[in-house]
Structures are given as C-alpha cells and as structure tokens.
Amino acid sequence: MRSLARSLVGAVLALSLAPLAAAQAWPTKSIRLVVNFAAGGSTDVIARSMAQKLGETLGQTVIVDNRVGAAGNIGLELVARSAPDGYTLLHSSDGPILINPHIFKMTVDVAKELLPIAPTAGSALFLVARPGIPSGNFKEFLAYARANPGKLNYGSAGSGTLQHVAIEMIMDVAKFKAVHVPYKGSQQVLVDLLGGQVDFTVDLGAAIPHIKSGKVRLLGVPGKTRSPIFPDTPTLIEQGPARRAPSSRVSTRRSAASCNRRKRKRSLTPWRRTRCRR
C-alpha cells in the first residue's frame, strides 16, 4: 500500500504541479478524497487504507468523504464540479466511470471533466452458480445453458451495475442467453443464490466463504488471471470460448478543468488554462 501511495503521489504531482510549479507548492492543506459508495464497501475500505499512507507520504491529512447515491453519480459529479486544484480527488470503482455515462443522463462529461490519475486496486470477480445447476465448470455450464436457452436466470445488484454488464459481456462472447433478475444490492443476490431462486451471478467476493463450504459453485474467474484464492479454478478465458471477460478495478481521479466556454469565462487559473489547451 505504501508503494501504491508513492506512485499515486507521483501521478498527482505530475498532473497537478507542472502547471502550478511557479505559483505554489502542493499540498499546502488537507486533501479531500471523495468515495462515491458507502462506508464499509470495498471501494471505501481501499480508499481509507490508501488515504492514511498517502497522508503520511504527503505530510497532509487526506480526508475520506463518502458521497453516496445515484449509483455513484452523486460523488462523481461533486468532484467534477470542484475546483481543479488537486485538493479534491475521487476514488471510484469502474462502474460509475465506465458504465454510468452510457445508461444515465449525467450532468457532467466524465471523460472530459475528470482526469484519471492511477488505478489503485483490482477486485476479483467470480462466476458462481447454485449447486443444483448440473455443471462443475464453465464449459459444462455453457453446454447446459445453450441446451436450455432462456431457462436460466441470473441476478445482479441492479440494471446497469458492473455485475449486470459483466454477465451480459460473458453471454455475448460465450453465445448464450439467460433472464436478468435485478436486485437492489449484491448481498440480496447472494441470499437468493444460496436459496436456489437465482441460477448464477458474478460475485465480487462475498460468496468466497460459500464457495469454500460448497454451498455455491465456482464456475470460473472472469479476467485474465486466476484468483490466488482459488488457484485451481481456471479463468473463463482458459475454459473458452470467452476470449475476453471483464474484471473490476477501482481507481482514483480528480476533477479536470472543464473546457467549455461558459466555465472558462467564469474562472481561469493557470492550471485550468493549461488543461484546456490539451
């Protein structure tokens, strides 16, 4: 985590200080690290661990500020609208950054108004099925799903969530169809998977103890590499024909200067001017 903090500091410095170098040092005050998901979740836990090391490295306090709501859009939009001075950073999972712009009407342009700094951590995904499904691996599952088109269902934490899109990606590549059952959160999906109401899902780690106890069947690991937790379980790519498969990561970004004319008139710091020229 310390090396991560160091590389993050380097990245922030590269982005923040170059245009400001002649003006002032950074940081001269505490930094606000906005997390767009609730305290206790994986994005928050990583942010808090990172904030402590980052603060020690920088000699300034890094304050984690959870701004929850609208599938992560509340915190994201807050950072995008903040001053682009390096004192307000966003720690987000991929979903709000990469998926939300395609399914929500957002008030900011994520690609233009948030400047990526660095990826901080990846979260393993697990393709899991209820034990009653007659397949012990992805190959067998695929044969079963293709032989029973539309009969299987899968649960997700909601429409447009990473879980939902990840499974759609897997189905698209592996050429099979299943019925989507959207829930309000991933924990409820797991409960119904254990109860047999849901046939399969992509899990972000909560199912690990149930996989180990045999209550849930691990079919494969999306992503390019095997999980160190289940090293004997092949990836979906290894089991084919999923040539590509999603993985999840969380990342840090900061607000970028908006280059639209209205904002440029309102405030033009040297940093903002430099960014707008890019």
Partner: protein, 37 residues
C-alpha cells in the same frame, strides 16, 4: 473482499485504458439494451 494490487500506470496510460474500457462497456450496454432501474 478479494482485492489485489495493479501494476503502476502513467496517468496517460490509465486514461487510454479507461477510454478503451468505456467504449467496450458502451458497446455491450447498447447491444444488450441495458437501462437504469
């Protein structure tokens, strides 16, 4: 939670990676007609 460290990337590499991923997710969202709740 099953998190792991990621290899370091420059901000430019990260931005390019994110844009590719955003495009890829966008394609899936459109093809599967995924909508918000």
């Amino acid at each position: 939670m099953a998190s792991y460290a990621l290899p370091p990337m420059t901000p430019e590499q990260f931005a390019a990676h994110q844009q590719r991923a955003r495009d890829s997710f966008g394609k899936v969202v459109r093809e599967a007609n995924i909508r918000a709740n």
